[in-house]
Amino acid sequence: MGNMASAKVVVLPMIDKQTDHEPAAVKPSATQDVAAVASPNTPAPAAAEIPVPEPEQIPTVSLTKVLRRLLAQITRERIITAALACVSLGALFLFWYLGTKYRLEFYIRFKNVPTPYEVFQQLTQVGLSNKYLVNIAISVRRILTGFFIAIAIGVPLGLAIGKYQRVRDLFMPVVEVLRPIPAIAWVPMSIMLWPNNEASIVFITFIGAFFPILLNTIHGVHSLDGVLIRAARCLGASEFRLFLNVILPGSLPHIFTGLAVGMGVAWVSLIAAEMISGQFGVGYFTWEAYSLVDYPAIVLGMITIGFLGLACSGIIRMVGNLLMPWLAFAPGGKR
């Protein structure tokens, strides 16, 4: 039952994402591409067309018809998406429910796995307690700190490495040596390096996010069409302007890929770091539950991690769509 609630929450962000995406994409073409409009924005272009039709036609009737047809399409599309989401999540939930109900034993063992109901109870008991919420807040704070430091260093450095051969020659050897070391392998070193526990966990989160962001930014600069840089130079762009007005926006799609990947790795690294060296945090919460043989809390911790990760990548995608409305028209369609 706890998971039915979660199933609904999972579906909602996906629909939100679509509604957020489309108006942003449609705005610039509102008057031209009425056919491409498939969003709640439809009244605006429709209104713009009102003066055009001949007097003998009654515009309102045809307009409502068109509107209705569009709405029908939207909802059908949405319903299918939502339904499929429910099916996949429902199947997972059902597997869990049946596994724990009949205590399945076929190589994997459901003997000690808590039932959905137990987890739901755990949520109502522990879920709204201070301890649980503080753990979430601390994990989110660590993620955001590490992630934003990774952006602040990774994006400018990536742009410079991508643009200048000499900077690349200087930094890439270090990057190539450090990159294969997983963030988790940094845990002992991090504890030695940093004065306190908090800083070392943030550092590990940073390491996790840093390399995907850096490498994707470099890739973004390299995949930028050289003719755009030449065009900007001809139009009088200075070196600084070139970075700000051409290289940065041109690399933005790849940078956002880096952010999405980096966020995922940051969560993996954070949870591992919290489990090993932590006080507080969702990873610590989950590991502590295991130590205390509190099985429902383990699952609650896992679900919490899943939701936090989902929310973070959802936010990144949303910000990306807001910042890069042109991608909706790019060859190859929406990302």
Partner: protein, 290 residues
């Protein structure tokens, strides 16, 4: 037009004894050899030649992207060392910034020059109107057709009021019908702005229709093979392509270019002749003949 007048007006391109060599030692390729040419202020000059003859390299030098190995290129008496907004460039590839709206693309050069927003806006809208694309000002480039993109590319290059316009096969990627329309649009725009144009093309009809003067280049290493004046009256109209004067010029240029196109091909093919080439291509492909 006398030299005295040419010096007085802006937009005089002067290229002297230009040579460009790529690579070093054994890999050395002479792309351009002792080329001299000029574009008088307000003149429309085309550079035509077989592919690989270095005509785009020449344009890159005038644009300031490439430094010549020998000789020099000057604009109004000043040596060209790097790209600048005094020379507008239109590229063969679509070069609009995909993240900027059409209007912001046209405004780009003005923004770089520090022109304030309201003035940028007015200028950009006027230019878009000239290109017949004002209603698309808020579209993104990816929403437009190739011909529209190149029209915007042209007015974007004109926005900063450059002295010369350098065009590197700007219509090469367009279909024939669009290209013909674009040529007419370009002559109209050019007549309004009266700036010097150096136009690179491999299309004979296109070069005649647009130009006051045409330079024909040889196959690599590129040299100037001939200089042809186009005495057709202005404004040029699409119907002019059917006149005997136009046809004669086409024939003349075709003869000149054909020699060079053959010279540009592999020596083996040239020796055997084109018919031999056709005979010997077996099922395994062209490789068999070598």
């Amino acid at each position: 037009m006398t030299m005295a007048m040419a010096e007085a007006q802006k937009g005089f391109i002067d290229v002297r004894n230009m040579g460009v060599t790529f690579g070093a030692n054994d890999n050395k390729v002479v792309a351009v050899e002792s080329v001299s040419l000029n574009v008088q202020p307000g003149e429309f000059v085309s550079l035509i030649g077989p592919s690989g003859c270095g005509k785009s390299t020449l344009l890159s030098i005038v644009a300031g992207f490439v430094k010549p190995t020998s000789g020099e290129a000057k604009l109004d008496g000043k040596a060209i060392t790097r790209p600048g907004s005094d020379r507008g460039v239109v590229f063969q590839q679509y070069s609009l910034f995909p993240w900027l709206s059409v209007r912001k693309n046209v405004e780009f050069g003005l923004k770089m020059a520090g022109v304030d927003q309201s003035k940028r806006n007015t200028t950009a809208r006027a230019l878009l109107d000239l290109a017949g694309l004002l209603s698309f000002e808020n579209h993104y480039p990816d929403q437009l057709s190739g011909g529209m993109k190149q029209r915007i590319g042209i007015v974007r290059a004109l926005a900063t009021s450059p002295q010369v316009l350098l065009m590197d096969e700007p219509f090469g990627a367009l279909d024939t019908q669009t290209r013909v329309v674009m040529q007419e649009i370009l002559t109209n725009i050019w007549q309004q702005f009266k700036i010097s144009v150096l136009f690179i093309t491999h299309d004979i009809e296109e070069s005649i229709f647009l130009s006051d003067r045409i330079y024909v280049m040889t196959a690599r290493p590129g040299r100037i093979k001939a200089e042809i004046k186009v005495p057709l009256p202005r404004p040029r109209k699409a119907e002019m392509t059917d006149t005997p004067e136009f046809m004669n010029l086409v024939q003349e240029l075709k003869g000149l270019i054909r020699e060079e196109s053959l010279a540009a091909m592999a020596p083996e093919i040239k020796d055997r002749g084109l018919s031999g080439f056709g005979m010997k291509v077996g099922p395994k492909g062209v490789g068999e003949i070598f």
